[in-house]
């Protein structure tokens, strides 16, 4: 048995059953290598928990989704009622649905924090660009999945959300209308649309599993980044993944799940919209359509472009407002995708880049503010400044401008100009430095 190509790299296991399997398929060796002794930087903070948390959420969504699918009917005549039946009659149906519904929100919370972590500590930089790209692909697939899932209960927001978002594609010149009818399978959002959305909503999470696998594979080639942004050099810089990070991840997960459970049990509809408990009606649009909260910043960017882009004072228009808005919205995610090539500064972590850090934090605030504006009606008056009426749209335009300026102007500029703070030699030194400064501050305060 020991003559195979992998045999030489294996250390035998004590347990005869495990050893028997491992000789034939070295899966235990692999798990031990990647999750047991895997050398991991020793200075992770709690931001490093969110990858594991996102993974947990993906599994949760798949388990609750498949069980919901056992009772759900993807037909416009009965979809809404089948979801109500899940809520009232199916044993624990209410629980499974609330776990799934709030799970989508908490999945996005975990992933947004995970993305922020990557931006703050420069995890997108060489050699982790591909790892970053897989991450953005997962994010796009998640958005598609969540969007189609929200259509399934066939409430008013389901229907009108689907209508508005699919109509985005009608902005494409010449072929726009054909594309939209192709997406719909008809002349409006209707039964064929619901059916295909269900098929895809079932499929895409498994595609996500596939891309997550690539994401983690790439991670285990480059190794993890860490809060100092310095690559580990010696054994002093790392710890074995187990038990150190299995424990830290478990602890973080318990805290996260406790908050998630509080929502599921005590305020299951806090993150949703009441209009979705009204059955879909193609003849009446609700007064104020909003997407799920996790899409609001992008929705605000979409609405911010309410002007044609062309040569002023002539009839020449390059992009109609509608197409401009769509391009800006997709462009805002494309920015994240190409971030490794916009920021070429040699220092990774924002800890040692004070200017980048300020710019990034302002960016985060502007994304949150865009989310706030995205949930408000367009053109809602906010204040009078002299004779000028300030509306939500103006604020959205300013914030959108900063969003793009951050990527296209600030990052390339700082790449060349920013002088970093003095860097420690290694992760070990970074940790010790941190301790010393803690001691110093203690002394100062005792005196």
């Amino acid at each position: 048995m020991s003559a195979g190509p992998h045999a030489s790299q294996r250390t035998p296991f004590q347990n005869p059953v495990i050893e028997w399997v491992d000789q034939r398929l070295p899966i235990f060796t692999m798990v031990n290598k990647e999750y047991g002794v895997f050398p991991t930087p020793k200075n992770f903070n709690y931001f490093w928990n969110f990858g594991a948390i996102a993974m947990f959420m993906l599994v949760t969504m798949i388990v609750t989704g498949i069980t919901l699918a056992m009772h759900y009917a993807a037909n416009t005549g009965i979809a809404f009622d089948s979801v109500e039946r899940i809520m009232r009659d199916v044993n624990y149906g209410w629980l499974i649905r609330y776990i799934h519904m709030n799970g989508a929100s908490f999945f996005f919370i975990a992933v947004y924090i995970h993305i922020f972590r990557g931006m703050y500590y420069g995890s997108y930089k060489a050699p982790r660009e591909l790892l970053w790209i897989f991450g953005v692909v997962i994010f796009l697939l998640m958005m598609a999945t969540a969007f189609m899932g929200y259509v399934l209960p066939w409430g008013q927001m389901s229907f009108w959300g689907a209508t508005v978002i699919t109509n985005l594609f009608s902005a494409i010149p010449v072929v726009g209308t054909s594309i939209v009818e192709w997406l719909w399978g008809g002349f409006s959002v209707d039964n064929p649309t619901l059916n295909r959305f269900f098929a895809l909503h079932y499929l895409l999470p498994f595609v996500i599993v596939g891309v997550v696998f690539l994401h983690i594979w790439a991670l285990h080639v480059t190794g993890s980044n860490n809060p100092s942004g310095i690559e580990p050099k010696t054994e002093k810089d790392t710890l074995p993944f187990h038990p150190y990070y299995t424990m830290k991840d478990s602890f973080g997960l318990v805290v996260f799940v406790a908050i998630y459970a509080a929502f599921v049990f005590f305020m299951p509809n806090a993150l949703g919209h009441p209009d979705n408990y009204t059955p879909a009606n193609p003849m009446v649009t609700p007064a104020h359509i909003v997407p799920e909260w996790y899409f609001l910043p992008f929705y605000a960017i979409l609405r911010a472009i309410n002007f044609d882009i062309g040569i002023p004072f002539t009839d020449i228009v390059f992009f109609e407002a509608k197409l401009g808005g769509v391009l800006a919205m997709f462009g805002s995610i494309a920015m994240v995708l190409i971030m490794p090539w916009l920021d070429k500064h040699p220092v990774r972590s924002a800890r040692y880049r004070p200017k980048f850090r300020v710019a990034l934090l302002v960016f985060v605030v502007s994304v949150l503010a865009l989310g706030k504006i995205g949930g408000m009606p367009a053109d809602a008056p906010l204040a009078h400044i002299g004779s000028f009426l300030l509306t939500t749209t103006h604020i959205a335009q300013i914030l959108t401008l900063y969003y793009f300026a951050f990527f296209l102007v600030i990052l390339p500029y700082l790449s060349k100009r920013e002088r970093p703070l003095p860097m420690p030699e290694s992760i070990n030194d970074a940790v010790l430095q941190g301790q010393k400064s803690d001691q110093k501050s203690e002394k100062c305060c005792e005196a």
Binding site: E181, W182, G186, P282, I289
Partner: protein
Amino acid sequence: MTAGAMGAVAAGSVVWPFINQMNPAADTKALSTTEVDVASVAEGQAITVMWRGKPVFIRHRTPKEIAESKEVDVSLLRDKQTDEQRFKTKPEWLVVIGVCTHLGCVPLGQKTGEMRGDYNGWFCPCHGSAYDTSGRIRKGPAPKNLEVPMYSFISDTVIRIG
């Protein structure tokens, strides 16, 4: 070279059915005419009927509304159409698809008392597009006038849409 080209044709012909299956099916396309009797719709009133899963607005316009629509300077419009291009034979009957050309919401203004926007036609609550009494876009993000469906008068008061 040739083998590659043949391969591409073969792959294309296999893929096409899987793409085209998503287009509207024969029965979906077949559901495409609706007949409406508008005799009971008084001047100034409007009704909404369903056609291909979409609302169609039929408005019985007042002489004042028709006059307003005619007076507009067409060269100033975003989607330049005269009022004559917006109705068929009878100016008092305006028939348009009740779907905002921005992102597809149903504009308000059909029922009495509903908001009709700055131009007294329809107002889309989603992102604030305003249409005039000819269904033409006058304000807001929508790029086009409300679409006029294919329709004809099969008698003095019966309209066939589609």
